[in-house]
């Protein structure tokens, strides 16, 4: 089976005044002319708009667009006891910055913080909504830890908090989850800790959930012999960053699904679906027996809205082409 999906974020602002309402509301709140409730109402409306726009690209799995997230780390940091989002730090090799979490005490989830996001998105989505969270190891690696002084202990505490959130999301009906662990590409020595913490989070999703361990901005070639250990129904690979991930396609564990990041989220040049399909052709045999999800390599918020939409549309074209031209075993 092959499907198209958004990776995570979707641009919350575009050119028209309607598409700038969240930016305007946040600016007004900054100046004391709007309340938190005003902003929350706009966030809900924008979330509905971006879910609808993803649906308009006919992809099979959308996200809530993560329109309430300042960044992958800071949104979670704001909702965990013991953590504060602090200084701006660059998000990998992009032009995007997030606030670095500073860990000041025992990490615990104070209350559910994504359930509302999911319910709003789900209420307008025509297809399943995937909820995205940072992986505990990436969160720990990119935090300034002033409490545990032990990355393993911090990652375990974060994983417990994320598991609580996933459990609450599953309770209200969420069935698609993604944990982003881009740091695994750079730190293969973290694999055991990723396995332990991601397993803990995915277990909270319940049986039958789609659980994607997403890696990007790097490749997993240095973990090639241990891919079978990675938890989740799908492994997410960034096929744009490095050709090395193509070599891994033949080495994926039997029965494992794969989410292929085939569309570059860092360039406005839109890949042609036929070219992308030709690049996958040598790996056809290893793919047709799997559940394959295709889409952008990473957050589409690195692009203007029009190009983000085009990337999803071409991911969908790719699905149509390969669904028709390849014989799928499942």
């Amino acid at each position: 089976m092959i499907r198209a999906a958004n990776h995570s974020f979707y641009p919350r602002v575009a050119e028209s005044p309607l598409d700038q309402q969240l930016r305007t509301a946040l600016r007004k709140r900054d100046r004391g002319r709007a309340t938190d409730a005003d902003v929350a109402a706009v966030e809900d409306e924008v979330a509905c708009l971006v879910v609808a726009e993803q649906s308009r690209a006919f992809i099979e799995i959308v996200t809530d667009g993560m329109v309430r997230w300042e960044g992958l780390l800071s949104r979670v940091a704001r909702h965990l006891d013991g953590v504060e989002p602090r200084d701006l730090a660059r998000w990998f090799e992009t032009n995007f910055y997030d606030r670095r979490p500073e860990v000041l005490g025992e990490v615990r989830r104070a209350a559910p913080f994504l359930v509302h996001d999911y319910l709003v998105a789900e209420s307008v989505a025509l297809t399943p909504v995937k909820m995205v969270l940072p992986g505990a190891v990436t969160f720990a690696r990119l935090s300034r830890d002033r409490h545990y002084d032990d990355r393993t202990a911090l990652a375990r505490a974060v994983a417990d908090a994320l598991a609580d959130e996933v459990k609450d999301l599953a309770t209200v009906g969420a069935r698609h989850f993604q944990l982003d662990e881009p740091m695994l590409c750079r730190h293969p020595e973290d694999l055991d800790l990723v396995v332990e913490t991601a397993s803990r989070v995915f277990d909270a999703a319940g049986d039958g959930a789609t659980t994607v361990l997403s890696t990007y901005f790097g490749d997993l070639s240095r973990s090639a012999d241990r891919l079978d250990l990675l938890p989740g129904s799908h492994i997410g690979l960034d096929m744009v960053w490095s050709p090395a991930n193509y070599d891994l396609l033949a080495r994926l564990p039997e029965g494992k699904g794969v989410m292929l990041g085939l569309f570059d989220a860092r360039t406005t040049r839109v890949e042609d679906a036929a070219d992308v399909a030709a690049g996958l052709e040598p790996y056809r045999e290893g793919l047709v027996s799997r559940d394959v999800i295709v889409g952008p390599q990473a957050s589409l918020e690195l692009l203007p809205r029009d190009q983000a939409f085009d990337k999803l549309l071409h991911a969908r074209y790719l699905v149509e082409k390969l669904a028709k031209e390849w014989t799928w075993a499942c």
Binding site: P11, R23, L88, R90, T268
Partner: protein, 323 residues
């Protein structure tokens, strides 16, 4: 004399200027009308810096919407995309490189001349560096990042030479992206060297770098081909301070001692403590005092208050040392 003060470049745009920029975009006014408003705003920013007691002034970059887009709008081979979020609620129109990049006319010289003519104090000229122009653009044209970066180095070099010919004595080349990819630091350095390499010796060159993972590249960053490095230090809690002891002899540090991404205005005492931390590592004659980064994200009142605290703290540190 040591411990001179400057700023990184941008100042908040006053309401009148924001309105005029919108009106121009909507074809409600012509360019000369905007220019008139801009010049009034530049005079006000210069007067503000003089009043506070800043030593080396800037024009506030009031004619620039964004540090890369401004140049993209003026260079052949570059276009401007839709809005892209950079952090929080900040967006910019990211340039797109669609052809060979060429400069058809000076882009900043006339504006610098205007600012310098409006104050007896020296005014620093500010350009965006080639590596950042490349890294903060979508490149749909060049076959490699190196080719793109070096092509941009040529246009920045031409602009720098024109600024120096116009009388600029302090030239800042902003390279906030330079720490993004450690494996490309040599390329970034080569491109920066292409810009600064043939400038007259009497020009003091600076580069401003902020909000990156400096750890893996700090040693090589200190060797960049400029006279001084303007670094954000406060936002990152002075994480890199220790490494600055390795700043090569003769090079200057512009120390960022005011956080520009926090609405809270630091007290002069708090800023003074930060200055003293820097002076534990480098002697005062090699240290300039600055905010972390441009002030455009602050309100005018916040910018004024932060700079006032900075100058007050610097004066106290100077007095202690009889500078």
């Amino acid at each position: 004399m040591g411990l001179l003060t400057s700023t990184v470049g941008s100042f908040p745009k006053p309401a009148e200027l924001r309105r005029a920029r919108r009106q121009l975009a909507d074809d409600e006014i012509e360019a000369p009308a905007l220019r008139e408003v801009e010049e009034r705003a530049v005079r006000a920013v210069l007067a503000l810096q003089e009043e506070i007691g800043i030593d080396l002034l800037v024009d506030g970059e009031l004619d620039r919407g964004d540090m890369t887009t401004f140049f993209a709008e003026r260079l052949e081979g570059m276009e401007v995309s839709g809005l892209v979020r950079s952090y929080g609620n900040r967006y910019y129109r990211k340039p797109v490189i669609v052809g060979d990049v060429r400069r058809t006319a000076p882009m900043t010289v006339e504006r610098w001349r205007f600012a310098q003519g409006a104050t007896p104090k020296p005014v620093k000229a500010i350009l965006t560096g080639p590596y950042t122009l490349m890294d903060w653009s979508f490149d749909e044209h060049y076959p490699s990042r190196e080719a793109c970066c070096m092509a941009l180095a040529e246009v920045v070099r031409e602009e720098a030479n024109d600024l120096v010919a116009a009388g600029v004595r302090d030239l800042q080349i902003d390279e906030p992206a330079i720490s993004v990819r450690p494996d490309e630091l040599d390329l970034a350095s080569r491109a920066l060297g292409r810009v600064t390499g043939d400038l007259a010796p009497k020009v003091r060159t600076w580069t401003h770098i902020c909000y990156g993972e400096f750890g893996p590249v700090m040693e090589r960053m200190l060797e960049l081909p400029v006279n001084g490095l303007l670094l954000e230090l406060s936002n990152s809690d002075f994480d890199t301070l220790g490494a600055l002891a390795g700043l090569p002899e003769g090079k200057l540090l512009g120390a960022g001692v005011v956080d520009v991404h926090d609405h809270v205005v630091e007290s002069a005492d708090a800023v003074r403590e930060r200055i003293e931390r820097v002076l534990e590592v480098l002697p005062p004659e090699r240290v300039w005092i600055n905010p972390d980064c441009g002030l455009k994200t602050r309100t005018l009142d916040e910018a004024r208050a932060k700079l006032t605290a900075m100058v007050e703290a610097t004066r106290a540190a100077r007095t202690t040392r009889s500078l």
